[in-house]
């Protein structure tokens, strides 16, 4: 397909600017002006619409296909949230308005959305307070790690090491390192959870804290979670809960009750806001009482008279991490979702997410190697090791064959502690029929691996392109049409 720039026709225009009725009164001196126009496309409105509509048809989304991408919680995104977020009362609001005198009174609705969402997330997680500002999950992690650093600085603790299990998301060690910490990796035991003995060996006075995802990236709940938190607290360490997988336990159990000091949530996962092809997301961070004073500024507070305002006066705050109050419209969509589900609805989310994952686990374990037995939570992780050994078929071949059967593949090659990993997260919004169809497709592929492995290696054949040459992409490095 042609690039938009290649469709350009000299002299063609779509955009017509409103006639400018003012007289130009100052001419910027020529040395400060650009020499030539930026070479943007020259197209009609129809050209542009058709180009991007055609591009959209070269995509899978949750609305078009089952999307069991492990660790990403690709659930249905309610349309009503999109509609409400487009209301002009929200979409046209200038973020500097509440920073003007009396301007806050003109943004009471928006401030209430932020305040209420904070309150709801407190109850959902058992934490004492949230910042809604982090603009994505990893941004929340970094915010959490800066809060951890601020706590230790404030207490005069000289601690440099953060412990992270080897099954963690890649963002965990990256966020800890970005905040200035050293990272020590803790191995996973034979049951698929962080090895308690290795953790005990690693805990010492240099340990600033632990980052943990629970359930972890194998979809397993660590039964020693309380003991782990106690162990870290015994050296005045801070426990950090990566809430990427909260979908598994929402309404059933709360990280605050487990003993975690810091929690980040991904509103674009558990709370059904769209992933947007890779953002925008939102990664609010919750803390317990002892860390409240370090949360970023500003904070939305409720006054005695019931109105809302922004509070900046927090001397121990880590400071400003975002220009304003977070990805407001993402927060708004999550707020709508929580209001619509209520307590019972959210509990049913966890139940059906876990049921769907275990159903897949049970039905496929005859066909694919299941490295860690036992009940899983929101996702199950298989390995293609059997297919590799017997027929030379890799996880990636299975993934590509699934595409031809109309499914988005699971996450493959992650977590890296499982060879040829296939991480399947169905989510609660999918029906038994869809999941049965997926299971059947996986079984057919397992059979094809034996009978016609070459066919799998040639997949996908139904997509706009076949497998691309990624090595050439990195070698030739064509990243912009200039």
């Amino acid at each position: 397909m042609k690039l938009i720039f290649e469709k350009s026709v000299k002299g063609r225009k779509s955009f017509q600017i409103t006639k400018n009725e003012v007289v130009k009164s100052i001419n910027i001196k020529p040395e400060l002006l650009r020499k030539e126009n930026a070479i943007l496309p020259e197209l009609s409105e129809l050209d542009v619409v058709r180009h991007f509509t055609e591009l959209s048809r070269r995509n899978f989304g949750v609305d078009t296909n089952f999307y069991p991408l492990g660790s990403c919680t690709m659930k249905y995104n309610p349309k009503v949230a999109e509609l409400i977020a487009s209301y002009t009362g929200f979409a046209k609001l200038h973020p500097l308005l509440p920073q003007l005198r009396i301007g806050g009174m003109l943004t009471q609705g928006a401030l209430q959305v932020i305040y209420d969402t904070d309150m709801l997330l407190r109850e959902i997680t058992g934490m004492a307070g949230f910042t809604m500002q982090p603009l994505a999950g990893a941004h929340g992690e970094l915010t959490g790690m800066m809060i951890m650093a601020a706590y230790h600085n404030d207490k005069g603790n000289d601690k440099k090491t953060v412990l992270i299990p080897d099954s963690s998301h890649g963002t965990n060690p990256a966020s800890a390192a970005t905040a200035g910490f050293k990272v020590k990796s803790i191995k996973t035991n034979q049951y698929g959870v962080m090895d308690l003995e290795s953790l005990k060996d690693a805990v010492n006075d240099d340990v600033a804290g632990l980052m943990l995802t629970c359930p972890n990236t194998l979809g397993l709940f660590n039964p020693h979670i309380r003991e782990i938190c106690d162990l870290i607290h015994s050296v005045d360490g801070i426990t950090y809960y990566d809430g990427a997988n909260l979908n598994a336990i929402i309404g059933k159990a709360r990280p605050g009750d487990f003993g975690f000091d810091i929690v980040h949530l991904n509103l674009h996962k558990t709370f059904a806001t769209p992933h947007g092809g890779g953002g925008p997301g939102s990664g609010p961070v919750g803390v317990n009482e002892k860390l409240l004073e370090y949360l970023p500024v500003s904070v939305v507070v409720k006054r005695k008279d019931g109105t809302y305002s922004l509070q900046y006066d927090k001397p121990k705050s880590i400071g400003y991490i975002a220009p304003f109050y977070g990805n407001f419209s993402v927060i708004l969509k999550a707020y709508i979702y929580i209001l619509m589900l209520g307590a019972k609805g959210l509990q049913r989310v966890a139940e059906n997410a876990v049921l769907n994952a275990n159903y897949i686990r049970e039905k496929l374990k005859k066909y694919y190697h299941l490295p860690y037995e036992g009940i899983c939570k929101h996702e199950c992780v298989f390995s293609a090791s059997k297919q590799l050994q017997e027929n030379g078929i890799h996880a990636i071949d299975i993934a590509k064959a699934l595409i031809d059967k109309g499914f988005h593949p699971p996450t493959v090659y992650f977590p890296s502690i499982v060879k040829e990993a296939m991480m399947i997260e169905p989510t609660e919004t999918e029906s038994k029929e869809t999941i049965d169809a997926f299971i059947n497709a996986m079984i057919e592929i397992a059979q094809l691996a034996k009978s016609d492995p070459e066919k799998l290696k040639a997949a996908p054949t139904t997509t706009p392109i076949s497998r691309p040459d990624e090595t050439a992409a990195a070698k030739n490095l064509d990243i912009a049409n200039l």
Partner: protein, 443 residues
């Protein structure tokens, strides 16, 4: 309304087939760890939630005529932008890890990267960062990786909202932040040259700067390069319709807030940070990058490339921890830029500048209202000095339906009476007239 598809019967059937009860499915969570409390209200229907949120939306005033800018602008957004980003093939997809079924997202990112390069006159751009502020922070980290130094110079004409963010992010990292004080509204060359030495990794500047003033940083780029330092330039993409490009000035890394490219103000987000650089620095760049390649049949194809820089591969040694970025906002930006096109972007930028200069002429005719910086060129924002404290004057104008500007005392000492005024192409001659009349009458 939980959006769950399985019926209670299906749920039972599935449990029976796997031989477990619902309680057993959660049996791996120790009993003492089950939720101590979960007090939320009953779920609402779509009708209820729409009524409730319509009421909340009505508590936000959008009727004000907007002369507020400060890096976040009320530009016109053609309907096509919303129509395209509302296609759920785009918005319900995730990061394009599987290129065969993500060519739509990948090609749009590649086209976005290309447009950002063409706009800034640079050679490489990434798929996006969170916002203009985190983009400056990421650019600093990138520059320090490239130069292997730990000192940066930032002029206080750079957006103060971004400067306080940079402060937060660099606090624990042994990075020396040196601030220079603007001179007459422009970057302070004397102080910058004085501080610039062999330990300086980067100089950070903005054009047009926070006061709206336009500069040419060619001289500072040269001076920085002589000392082995890089120039990081934050810019306002609409202004690049007419202003001298960062590439032309010799900037090494260019960042900015892309909200003005087709994104609504939306009370602060989602917005988009863009980043572009010289091609030789691309392997040190943070974030996703889409690249062009060929498929097995020689057909044009797009993939995420240079992934070994990223957190999911390099973990603690990654160039950044960023994962989700602002892909859908990048789509808004490329659709917006494609629609406006070569001529439309220039006309929009010119219209902003013309209307701002008209407003400047009109407002400075009011007795006792004076330009704060007399000699500078500006794009679509300028600073006026009022005869009394600006926050109070602005409050009085809000009561008259005008968001007249931003009081600079919040960030700059000695500017208690100063107000930053922004005029986009959306403002009319009549609205500017109303602002002038009301300002005169409240003083």
């Amino acid at each position: 309304m939980p959006f769950i598809s399985n019926t209670p019967q299906q749920q039972k059937q599935m449990l029976a087939e796997i031989g477990l009860s619902m309680d057993e499915l959660f049996g791996d969570i120790p009993k003492e760890l089950m939720a101590k409390s979960f007090e939320l209200k009953e779920g609402l229907s779509e009708q209820q939630v729409r009524n409730q949120l319509t009421e909340l939306a009505s508590k936000n005033s959008i009727g004000l005529t907007c002369f507020l800018g400060g890096g976040f602008y009320d530009h016109f957004i053609p309907a096509v932008v919303q129509a395209i980003v509302s296609r759920s093939e785009f918005y319900t997809a995730y990061t394009p890890y599987q290129p065969e079924l993500s060519q739509g997202t990948l090609q749009s990112i590649y086209e976005y990267q290309s447009a950002i390069c063409r706009l800034t006159d640079m050679e490489a751009a990434n798929a996006s960062l969170y916002d203009g502020g985190t983009a400056i922070y990421e650019a600093i980290m990138m520059a320090l990786r490239i130069t292997k130094r730990n000192k940066v110079i930032i002029d206080n004409s750079v957006n103060p909202i971004y400067r306080v963010m940079v402060d937060t992010y660099t606090r624990n990292l042994k990075i020396e932040l040196q601030q220079t004080e603007n001179k007459e509204g422009l970057a302070n060359r004397e102080q910058i040259l004085e501080k610039l030495d062999e330990e300086t990794g980067a100089v950070i500047l903005q054009n047009p700067n926070f006061f709206g003033c336009i500069d040419d940083f060619t001289d500072i780029a040269q001076a920085a390069h002589e000392k082995g330092a890089l120039l990081i330039l934050s810019c306002y993409p609409i202004s690049l319709g007419i202003l001298k490009t960062p590439g032309d000035m010799g900037a090494d890394i260019v960042t900015g807030e892309g909200q003005s490219l087709g994104m609504p103000l939306c009370f602060g987000g989602p917005y988009i940070g863009f980043m572009a650089s010289r091609k030789k620095f691309v392997r040190k760049m943070p974030g996703r990058i889409a690249g062009q390649t060929k498929d097995q049949n020689g057909k044009r194809a797009f993939v995420l490339t240079l992934q070994p820089r990223e957190q999911h591969v390099r973990r603690a040694k990654a160039t950044s921890n960023i994962c989700s970025n602002e892909a859908l906002c990048a789509l808004s930006a490329i659709v917006y830029l494609s629609l406006l096109g070569k001529q439309g972007l220039k006309e929009t930028a010119q219209c902003c500048a013309d209307k701002a200069s008209y407003a400047y002429q009109r407002l400075t005719k009011i007795p006792n209202v004076k330009p704060h910086f007399k000699t500078n060129w500006f794009f679509n924002e300028f600073v006026l000095d009022l005869p009394s404290e600006a926050p109070e004057v602005i409050a009085r104008l809000i009561e008259r339906g005008l968001a007249a500007g931003f009081p600079l005392s919040r960030y700059y000492k000695g500017m208690e009476n100063s107000m930053l005024i922004c005029v986009t192409e959306q403002r009319t001659k009549q609205e500017i007239g109303i602002l002038a009349e009301n300002l005169e009458s409240v003083l």
